[in-house]
């Protein structure tokens, strides 16, 4: 929600509601676009590979050398497609958030990310579930997904470290995602060049929080997202490895 001002009149309330509506629309459109691109990329590649394997098989006799190998590869692609379908379904609706909460949802997603992309990952979590409003938890999870997508696509990283922690003021929660990749000159960076980062910054600001980037060429990238929480009953951290 936008910060409210009790002394504000009806006009500023209308302005606030319009801003909320515009933001919600923009978020929906961006998420749809991301889903469309993921469908095209992941399914497009796998379906192309399957089409090629079947074409090779159709041009060979059934007992030709290598035919069994082609069938095995085609079946493996089908298995990948099924896995991708399940993952997209999970991305559309992060059910783990409802069932196990933000902590485990982050950990599960990071473990899957680490296995799929061969990037070492570790995560540091608070002992207790953060008392975050549900809309904030969903937003934070979406931002986390976007930050990992950035690591995969742009960082050329070997390792990613994630931390979820209570801020010293006890009134906000910080998610940090740091990689050891190529980095970039953050001070001179124009956020408009990255839809993903700009979207995270805007979404965090909309929810009363903020985003900070710390990066330099050759020194990796660290992004911190801070969101306000409902209360401050979080205790000490525990560090876990996300990879099995």
């Amino acid at each position: 929600m936008l910060p409210t001002d009790d002394s504000a009149g009806p006009e500023s309330e209308i302005t606030r509601l319009r801003a909320m509506l515009a933001h919600a629309e923009e978020v929906r459109e961006i998420e749809k676009l991301q889903l469309a691109r993921e469908l095209h990329n992941d399914f497009g590649s796998a379906l192309t590979a399957l089409a090629m394997r079947l074409a090779i098989l159709s041009r060979q006799s059934a007992d030709a050398p290598g035919a069994a190998d082609q069938w095995t590869k085609a079946n493996a692609i089908l298995a990948t497609l099924a896995q991708t379908a399940r993952r997209i379904q999970s991305d559309l609706r992060p059910g783990a958030l409802d069932v196990v909460g933000l902590k485990l949802a982050l950990q599960e997603y990071l473990t899957d990310f680490s296995e799929r992309h061969a990037i070492d990952a570790s995560i540091s979590l608070p002992e207790q579930e953060p008392p975050l409003a549900r809309e904030h938890a969903v937003a934070l999870f979406r931002m986390f997904q976007q930050l990992l997508a950035n690591v995969r696509l742009h960082a050329s990283a070997r390792q990613v470290r994630v931390a979820l922690m209570l801020e010293p003021d006890g009134r906000s929660l910080c998610l940090s995602v740091a990689d050891d990749g190529m980095g970039f000159a953050a001070a001179a960076y124009d956020l408009d060049r990255s839809h993903g980062l700009r979207h995270i910054a805007e979404r965090a600001a909309f929810l009363g929080g903020s985003m900070q980037i710390d990066s330099a060429a050759g020194r990796g990238t660290s992004v911190r997202v801070v969101l306000p929480i409902a209360s401050s009953n979080i205790t000490t951290d525990s560090t876990k490895s996300a990879a099995p």
């Binding site: 691109r37 469908l39 095209h40 990329n41 399914f43 497009g44 590649s45 796998a46 379906l47 192309t48 590979a49 399957l50 089409a51 090629m52 394997r53 079947l54 074409a55 090779i56 041009r59 590869k73 493996a76 692609i77 990948t80 995969r152 696509l153 742009h154 050329s156 190529m182």
Partner: protein, 118 residues
């Protein structure tokens, strides 16, 4: 040369094209594609756009510079199928814009057209 970070896609396309007598190399990233191209001097490059590190939009002009005056046909093979994506690919230096999923017949027809023109 086939450039795709999806190993299944590039390997299977390479195997099919090899069956038809084409000499094929694959690369899983833009940086690797430049290394392969320097040795292989491809006549035709089919490249994904969403590559790790250097993406297809950056790769196309780099391949053009590397080829110098030699003719090389660059085709984007991508899931980004909107008209704006096509326009961006062509502006980046690609000659063609093919959309995944690609069928074997479409791939072979495209390759044969390019070979005939070469």
């Amino acid at each position: 040369m086939l450039v795709d970070d999806n190993d299944d896609a590039s390997t299977s396309m390479a195997e099919l094209l090899s069956l038809y007598g084409h000499e094929v190399r694959t690369a899983a990233s833009g940086a690797l594609a430049l290394e392969v191209a320097a040795q292989f001097n491809p006549q035709l490059v089919l490249s994904d756009i969403g590559l790790p590190g250097m993406d297809g939009y950056q790769l196309a002009p780099a391949l053009r510079r590397m080829a110098g005056g030699n003719r090389v046909v660059l085709a984007a093979v991508t899931g980004y199928g909107q008209s704006s994506d096509r326009e961006r690919a062509l502006n980046a230096g690609f000659d063609h814009h093919l959309i995944k999923p690609l069928t074997a017949d479409a791939l072979l027809e495209f390759i044969n057209e390019q070979v005939d023109l070469h």
